[in-house]
Symmetry: C2
Subunit: 244 residues, 2 copies
């Protein structure tokens, strides 16, 4: 991860508009952690976007109400694409993929969290790029022509991917610093009292005991298998060849 510099990509007197895609069966944490960080940036506004403005429920039932439809989205400097099980069917949804592609040309940062990187991958925009994803799905990045990098936050050009769920907080503080400079990132980190103390020190595959990791992989096996099926179809569409 690179370059939180003294001055950011956007001068303080220029407003920043952030758009975030929300959708059924997303994981709210991939949105709300980054929202907490990025909504604290000075001179910045946030819109939650979906095909329409009907409320959606996240994977665990949390109700999220979009602020605007894709058609009514304000021109934005940042697009956030969160993850969650619902990402799987969006990977073949041309309306969503088209919206991401169109925004990618304008935004300064396209920021994904968790399996949001698979959705970005399905647009073809990660071809030849370094990327990361939720620990359960990093092996799928190659189907989009991306190179998996084992870091919590990976930036390549205007694309920033955070790993799973809580990694969105780390990623968002870095994005804040990229946008408005390092001091802005530091203020947000203190505002959020982000001095974490994970109780069990087992929050990644390399930290977790083997038995816990095996149980957890087994619990997610069905969903991971369904994601692989879609990833393979997308790879064919994108012309990405994977030997496996």
């Amino acid at each position: 991860m690179t370059n939180a510099s003294a001055s950011g990509l956007v001068p303080d007197d220029q407003p920043i508009q952030i758009g975030a895609i929300v959708y059924p069966n997303m994981d709210q944490m991939d949105l709300t952690g980054p929202f907490a960080a990025l909504s604290r940036l000075p001179n910045t506004t946030f819109q939650l976007l979906w095909k329409n403005t009907q409320p959606v429920r996240d994977f665990h039932g949390f109700q999220i109400t979009p602020d605007a439809s894709f058609a009514d989205a304000k021109p934005m400097e940042v697009l956030l694409v969160p993850g969650g099980p619902g990402q799987n069917e969006l990977m073949e949804d041309e309306e969503v993929l088209g919206f991401i592609r169109a925004q990618s040309e304008r935004v300064k940062i396209l920021f994904t969290v968790c399996t949001g990187s698979l959705l970005l991958g399905a647009t073809g925009l990660l071809k030849g790029r370094r990327a990361t994803s939720y620990w359960r799905t990093t092996h799928l990045l190659k189907y989009f022509g991306a190179e998996y990098v084992n870091e919590r936050v990976v930036a390549d050009g205007k694309f920033v991917n955070a790993a799973g769920l809580t990694a969105g907080i780390d990623g968002a503080i870095r994005v804040a610093a990229m946008l408005r400079g390092e001091e802005a990132g530091k203020r947000i980190e203190l505002d959020l009292q982000y001095a974490p103390e994970p109780p069990f020190n087992c929050g990644s595959p390399d930290k977790a005991p083997a038995e816990l990791l095996a149980i957890s992989k087994q619990a997610g096996a069905d969903l991971t298998a369904r994601r692989l099926v879609v990833a393979k179809r997308v790879a064919t569409k994108l012309g990405v060849r994977v030997d496996d």
Copy 2:
């Protein structure tokens, strides 16, 4: 912080109902971090509760829709009280204070995040107890007869307080372990990929450079002053004497 034991407070075959108070000008992070952790507990359901079911907006505009009114709340094993600037006026709102007091008799854990502990304090239930709060407001705990403890998560009896915002994730994983045993907490920590890497290592007053801390305190000075005014009125009502 104590006792994440092998077996939890609630046997796996008994359902757990969690209620969370939501309100205008709360901070969504105090709710959504814990929601991500606790909604992953097996055999557990979550309700967002307010005086009515009209959507509220958090301090930065995030729209939250209650699942039920206080009157329609299901009997619960856990009550979550988040914080945020909107806590200040609720500290003298008898409907809210009465709801918290009534639930406190039934629940196994009453869990506050950030300035949610001030709201709990205003009920009188923290008198003589160890507690914590957002770093900006720890000096206010004495007005409720509580003893401030400089830890990220503090448990005293059935009361669990997490410090500011992101500390709700640490607190919720601990609460998960208290409810369903240590293995359940570990699985959630891995599910959330909670192996945090704060970019600037300045997320608490003792870690932040002096200049950053001074700027941050100045930015929050007005709100802190308003909170002090209310805390003093509440102290009088509760019969707590503070020499200052």
